[in-house]
């Protein structure tokens, strides 16, 4: 179900092909709608980005102005330098770093373990394979809230509160990744791998040297979606990372919001620190985002 602009004849325009005049009007209306909706979709980001340069008097002014009177970076510097008495050093760089490395660890582990399992489900025959695969899909129907929040007690028993273990170990391998990559492996021809296997490369060698390089686009799509999922995750870090110096950016921002309820410019800067890295990643890899979401159907979950 990959999204592409070229492959399929476009259904919606079909009806208009015999009537060029009305097709022309249709296209114009479509463009107008697209432009307006795109503006609408992006407005909250632009308004809040511009808001970060305002003074607190400007941000509370009514009627609100779109542009700041002057481009001041005070708010950015103030938030960057944010400290609390109980923790030494700046918190925001720490939170950025925590979010970053945690997302990276999650993604690297998931790429390896999910693709390995997916390769087995797609290529190797073993008793119970289909049953286990069905169980994996079924496990995706368990609402996360059931195990995640009450699971606090379980992780607490393990002594894992205020450590990163509950955010790493259970996510070393995730059902959505197995599902997505199994589908991908099934879609690529076996011939190359068979030749390599006969050449004595063995199963792992064939997986590592042949199948993995072939699936680079799918792996990249999966990696991006999971990086985003980890970076944006809120409930998990909120439950398990209660000390400010351990927090990730999302939890840090919520902590920050309750510290500075009336400091709207600071809250907006915090939101921007969280959003901008994701938006940049998205604009670079938008092709992969849009394809991946369509065939996994479960972005970043």
């Amino acid at each position: 179900m990959a999204v592409s602009a070229k492959q399929q004849p476009v259904a919606a325009n079909r009806a208009g092909t015999e009537r060029p005049a009305s097709a022309y009007v249709g296209t114009t209306i479509r463009y107008v709608l697209l432009v307006l909706l795109s503006l609408f979709a992006f407005t909250p980001f632009i308004l809040s980005f511009l808001g970060t340069f305002k003074t607190s008097a400007e941000i509370n002014a009514f009627p609100p102005q779109i542009l700041p009177e002057q481009w001041r970076f005070d708010n950015w510097i103030r938030v960057w330098n944010f400290t609390i008495p109980s923790v030494q050093g700046r918190l925001l760089p720490l939170w950025l770093f925590n979010s970053g490395w945690l997302a990276l660890v999650n993604v690297l582990a998931q790429i390896f373990f999910c693709s390995l399992a997916a390769y087995a489900f797609a290529r190797i025959r073993f008793p119970g394979r289909d049953l286990i695969f069905t169980a994996i899909i079924a496990s995706m129907a368990i609402p996360a809230a059931v195990t995640l929040i009450p699971g606090y007690v379980f992780y607490s028993r393990l002594g894992w509160i205020n450590t990163y273990w509950p955010l790493i170990v259970p996510k070393l391998i995730v059902p959505v990744g197995i599902l997505m990559l199994t589908q991908f492996f099934r879609s690529i021809p076996k011939e190359l791998e068979e030749a390599a296997y006969i050449d004595g490369l063995g199963r792992f060698g064939t997986y590592w040297n042949i199948a993995l390089p072939l699936s680079r686009p799918a792996l990249l799509t999966f990696a991006i979606l999971q990086f985003q999922g980890s970076w944006n995750d809120f409930v998990g870090p909120l439950l398990f990372l209660q000390r400010p110096q351990l927090m990730t950016l999302t939890v840090g921002m919520s902590f920050f919001r309750y510290q500075y309820t009336n400091d709207l410019t600071a809250i907006l800067v915090g939101a921007m620190f969280n959003a901008i890295p994701m938006l940049i990643l998205f604009f670079i890899f938008s092709k992969y985002y849009i394809e991946g979401t369509s065939y996994s159907g479960l972005a970043g979950q």
């Binding site: 709608l33 379980f154 028993r157 170990v169 944006n232 919520s254």
Partner: protein, 330 residues
């Protein structure tokens, strides 16, 4: 064909050493899942199920947990906060899944065109889905301020996130209903404001799935239909929508799972207020489990979590049965 009786049936051929090695490799490759999933998905599920029948607290101090039977479940049903939160979640589910599904279909139809710059528009329109729920909440926290852009744009003067008035009240008054149970009075203004924000970010997420499905519809179906005189709107109703049925079912199911578990937005924006009109089941489970504002009662939280899960699973089964009908065109 040889007719074999039970007695003479040949024994199943023993697996060859090669096949056995192959199977072993397979298990080795999926071993990480068997271990991790076994402990942290299925094991944890059983553990949480077990504690829901005990009196365990999250601080689990002195004594070992005592078995208390169904009392946590019985208590959950009579707990006013839990009922309130389920009512809130119900309205959230109904309103958000409805509008996000319709919005996503319309947006996908709009974006399903081979025109110049369509890639750019797809990128722009997908962007609200990229930011985290926390970012979106912080941004809307500002936009929803009484002196904020939303009041300015609408020409209103509402404290969006602090308004406990219910949205069906004006309608009920028009019909002369003086007092009604809170649930029937609909969601509060604050809760509705959060729904609107949520719909804004989830329409693009689901739009992508509809767009992919639209591109899989073979063009000849529309050609055949146009010969029969079905074009435009009629083609949409009689061809496009029926073919989208499986995706609609999937989107409804994912929407149901997501909306009933709504947490982040309520936590960041309102903490369940005003007057508990944005209290969600997961927020309540969180508060009870960790003992925020109350005694920690992990077992009670676990029981509420299982009730919530049962509701979600029941609704998704119904959706699967009535919406996800296999289409006859394939």
């Amino acid at each position: 064909m040889a007719v074999s009786t039970k007695a003479t049936a040949p024994p199943k051929p023993k697996a060859s050493p090669l096949a056995r090695r192959e199977a072993l490799t397979g298990y080795l490759f999926i071993a990480p899942y068997l271990i991790i999933g076994g402990i942290f998905t299925y094991g944890l599920l059983l553990y949480v199920f077990y504690i829901s029948f005990t009196d365990l607290t999250a601080s689990f101090a002195q004594k070992p947990p005592q078995f208390v039977g169904l009392s946590n479940y019985i208590r959950a049903f009579s707990e006013p906060d839990f009922r309130t939160s389920l009512g809130n979640a119900f309205w959230y589910f109904v309103i958000v899944t409805t509008f996000q599904t319709i919005g996503a279909i319309l947006l996908a139809v709009l974006l399903n065109a081979r025109i110049k710059g369509i890639r750019f528009f797809r990128t722009m329109l997908y962007s609200p889905s990229v930011a985290s729920s926390v970012v979106i909440s912080l941004i809307f926290f500002w936009l929803y301020q009484q002196r904020g852009f939303i009041n300015y744009a609408l020409g209103t003067n509402v404290a969006w996130l602090r308004e406990a008035d219910r949205i069906f009240d004006p309608m009920l008054q028009a019909f002369g209903v003086a007092s009604a149970p809170n649930f029937l009075r609909g969601p509060s203004v604050a809760w509705t404001a959060i729904m609107v924000m949520n719909i804004f970010t989830t329409i693009p997420t689901f739009m992508i799935m509809f767009l992919a499905a639209l591109q899989d519809i073979p063009g000849h179906l529309y050609e055949a239909a146009s010969i029969d005189g079905a074009t435009g709107r009629r083609a949409f109703w009689y061809i496009t929508l029926p073919l989208l049925r499986p995706v609609i079912a999937l989107v409804l199911i994912l929407g149901t799972i997501g909306t009933f578990q709504v947490f982040d937005q309520a936590y960041v924006l309102t903490e369940g207020g005003p007057l508990k009109t944005t209290l969600t089941p997961t927020l309540l489970i969180y508060q009870k489990t960790l003992g925020k504002a109350t005694q920690p009662e992990a077992a009670f939280g676990a029981a509420m979590a299982f009730i919530l899960a049962a509701i979600i699973v029941a609704i998704t089964i119904i959706q699967r049965r009535y919406v996800e009908r296999s289409n006859q065109y394939d």
